[in-house]
């Protein structure tokens, strides 16, 4: 049973990660920085509950806000450049964050043992849930409540003017600009919102698995994050969820017997999907898809 709850946890957290990349992809930006924001959320909320003994909710909120603040800061220089240059810049950002977590040491003694982040050893013992007597099922429920809230908000976003503005920027920047849309504001806003969602996911992940280290935040995870909305398509939020279930639920879990061949297959799947369905898996269900890739 715990095994299946674990899968549900992973799928939930990865959905948040995918949705954070999704909102940026709506504006036509490919960001590899989401795993950096995820790491900021994970470490900062972990420090708050472990070292400062905060309650979980304010810690999660702080992690998400800190991540969105960094997203806001990164947004300005990174969005001066477009398309492929943005990919390079955001890869560099994620690697900077990963290397900082690799070097980050902040340990205090608590009840006779040292707790906190220990550089390359990672951040162990983020035990808020176990010490406060949460069941695994309650943790899963908490994660999925957040997933549903975020998905509902993104769903609602697509039904109001803000969503149309995002998609307008994604479809044709020049046309959007000539209709009076301020590109920088829209892109930085999308970046900030994406950072918030990724930071929230990071905080939930850190507390759910109770251990994070720099290996959690590699370029591979950044690729996972951006590949969910790209594989799932940007038609609506459910594409991302489907892609997460497909990759994490089926490819990674159900094919466990394939061992390290799974990551080789992951690379192959991306190549094949991009060759045959450059607009994502969604084109399987919908042949007259309007949005072109940029």
């Amino acid at each position: 049973m715990d095994y299946y709850l674990g899968i549900l946890q992973t799928i939930g957290v990865h959905t948040l990660l995918g949705l954070s990349a999704y909102i940026l992809l709506l504006t036509g930006q490919v960001s590899m920085a989401q795993i950096g924001f995820f790491a900021i959320g994970a470490y900062s909320s972990g420090v708050l509950t472990v070292i400062f003994s905060w309650h979980i909710y304010p810690a999660l909120a702080f992690g998400a806000f800190l991540a969105s603040f960094f997203a806001f800061l990164v947004g300005f220089p990174a969005l001066r450049v477009k398309g492929l240059m943005l990919v390079i810049a955001t890869i560099a950002f994620s690697e900077i964050v990963r290397l900082i977590t690799f070097n980050f040491v902040w340990m205090v003694e608590k009840d006779g043992i040292m707790v906190g982040a220990d550089g390359a050893q990672g951040f162990r013992e983020i035990r808020y849930f176990t010490t406060n007597g949460w069941e695994s099922s309650q943790v899963v429920l908490l994660i999925w409540i957040f997933v549903v809230i975020v998905m509902a908000m993104l769903w609602w976003l697509d039904r109001v003017k803000a969503g149309a503005v995002l998609r307008a920027v994604g479809n044709d920047e020049l046309a959007a600009q000539s209709s009076g849309i301020d590109l920088t504001t829209v892109k930085v806003a999308a970046m900030t919102a994406g950072g918030f969602i990724a930071g929230l996911g990071g905080g939930l992940y850190a507390h759910a698995v109770s251990y994070v280290d720099h290996i959690t935040f590699t370029i591979l995870m950044a690729t996972f994050a951006i590949s969910y909305p790209i594989l799932g398509g940007t038609k609506n939020v459910f594409g991302t969820l489907l892609a997460v279930i497909f990759i994490q639920g089926i490819l990674i879990e159900a094919f466990r017997f394939l061992e390290d061949w799974r990551l080789i297959i992951f690379g192959l799947i991306i190549i094949l999907v991009m060759n045959f369905m450059p607009n994502g898996l969604v084109s399987l269900f919908n042949s007259r898809k309007s949005k072109k890739g940029t």
């Binding site: 490919v30 220089p77 990174a78 001066r80 450049v81 398309g83 492929l84 240059m85 990919v87 390079i88 810049a89 890869i91 560099a92 950002f93 690697e95 900077i96 290397l99 900082i100 690799f102 070097n103 550089g119 390359a120 590699t218 370029i219 591979l220 690729t223 951006i226 590949s227 790209i230 390290d260 061949w261 990551l263 080789i264 992951f266 690379g267 192959l268 799947i269 991306i270 190549i271 991009m274 060759n275 450059p278 072109k292 890739g293 940029t294």
Partner: protein
């Protein structure tokens, strides 16, 4: 730690010599970007993959180890053109995102196959024979500066490769076709140049350059490991951006600069923090000089 001026100069020298491999990788990215306006994220992976194939073939058939430096680049060229056919050739040419994702898929595909075949552990790579034992010392106004023989060879070999590339680009019909396709693809096609053929040749040339860089980098470190792939990818991209996308001299200068600075950061801040500062440098460039050293070249087109 007490760092003297001479130590900084010394590590700058080592770094600039080693940086010539970054320059080669950056050149490869730039060549492909210049030809197709697309990033080939699998480029460093195919370069290291070529070095692995060279090592494997040489050990398997017990060839003299010097042959690695010929088989490796050829294999890298083959891998690179395979990447072209899998990730670029049949994708819609206006869809940069799809090609980018596909080549990231290629990056992981090659990287994971290497990890799978070697169980993720590093392999010994033959060092550069007599060059790795040579060491020159130069007295320069009461300072002694050392030059490692193998690194001098690395730089020399890289420069030979670069000169060969420049000859190919500016003195042959093939180079003329490549430059024509990169400047005006449609006009080039109207003149009877086959775009796909030219692009695949560009990928082969870039792949061979990358294979040389991969072999030289592995030889100067003495080991080859799948862990080389991602840092080489990121640093190659940084070199490309700093030099200005599509600029050849920019990539060479930026490669040497990144190598030198990386080595100084290594001396001052240690191996764990070194790359943070190299990556921060990229952000400084993005803010103050988003087009790199010679980015104006592409703006003119």
């Amino acid at each position: 730690m007490n760092v003297e001026f001479i130590d900084i100069v010394q590590s700058l020298i080592d770094g600039v010599l080693y940086g010539s491999t970054y320059a080669l990788i950056g050149l490869g990215f730039t060549l492909i970007f210049g030809a197709m306006e697309k990033l080939n994220m699998a480029y460093a992976a195919s370069s290291i993959g070529g070095a692995y194939v060279g090592l494997g073939v040489s050990v398997l058939f017990s060839f003299p180890l010097v042959l690695i430096f010929f088989i490796g680049p050829i294999a890298a060229g083959v891998l690179s053109v395979l990447v072209y056919f899998c990730c670029f050739r049949y994708l819609p040419s206006n869809n940069h995102l799809a090609a980018l994702m596909a080549s990231i898929g290629g990056l992981f595909f090659i990287d994971e196959i290497i990890s799978h075949e070697t169980d993720g552990s590093p392999l010994d790579f033959p060092e550069l024979g007599i060059f790795s034992e040579a060491y020159f010392e130069i007295e320069f106004s009461d300072m002694f500066l050392g030059f490692r023989g193998d690194l001098i060879f690395v730089m020399f070999a890289s420069f030979v490769a670069m000169l060969f590339l420049l000859y190919l680009l500016y003195r042959t019909r093939l180079g003329l076709a490549t430059r024509a396709v990169s400047q005006q693809p449609i006009a080039a096609q109207l003149c009877g140049i086959s775009i796909h053929q030219t692009n695949s040749i560009t990928f082969i040339i870039a792949g061979v350059l990358g294979g040389i860089a991969g072999c030289l980098a592995a030889a100067s470190v003495g080991v080859i490991s799948p862990l080389l792939v991602l840092p080489l990818t990121v640093k190659g991209l940084i070199v490309t951006v700093m030099g200005g996308l599509g600029s050849i001299r920019g990539a060479i200068i930026a490669g040497l600069l990144v190598g030198g600075l990386e080595s100084v950061f290594l001396l001052l801040r240690g191996v764990n923090e070194r790359d943070i500062y190299v990556f921060l440098l990229l952000f400084i460039f993005l803010v103050f000089k988003p087009n790199g050293f010679f980015g104006a070249e592409i703006d003119r087109d």
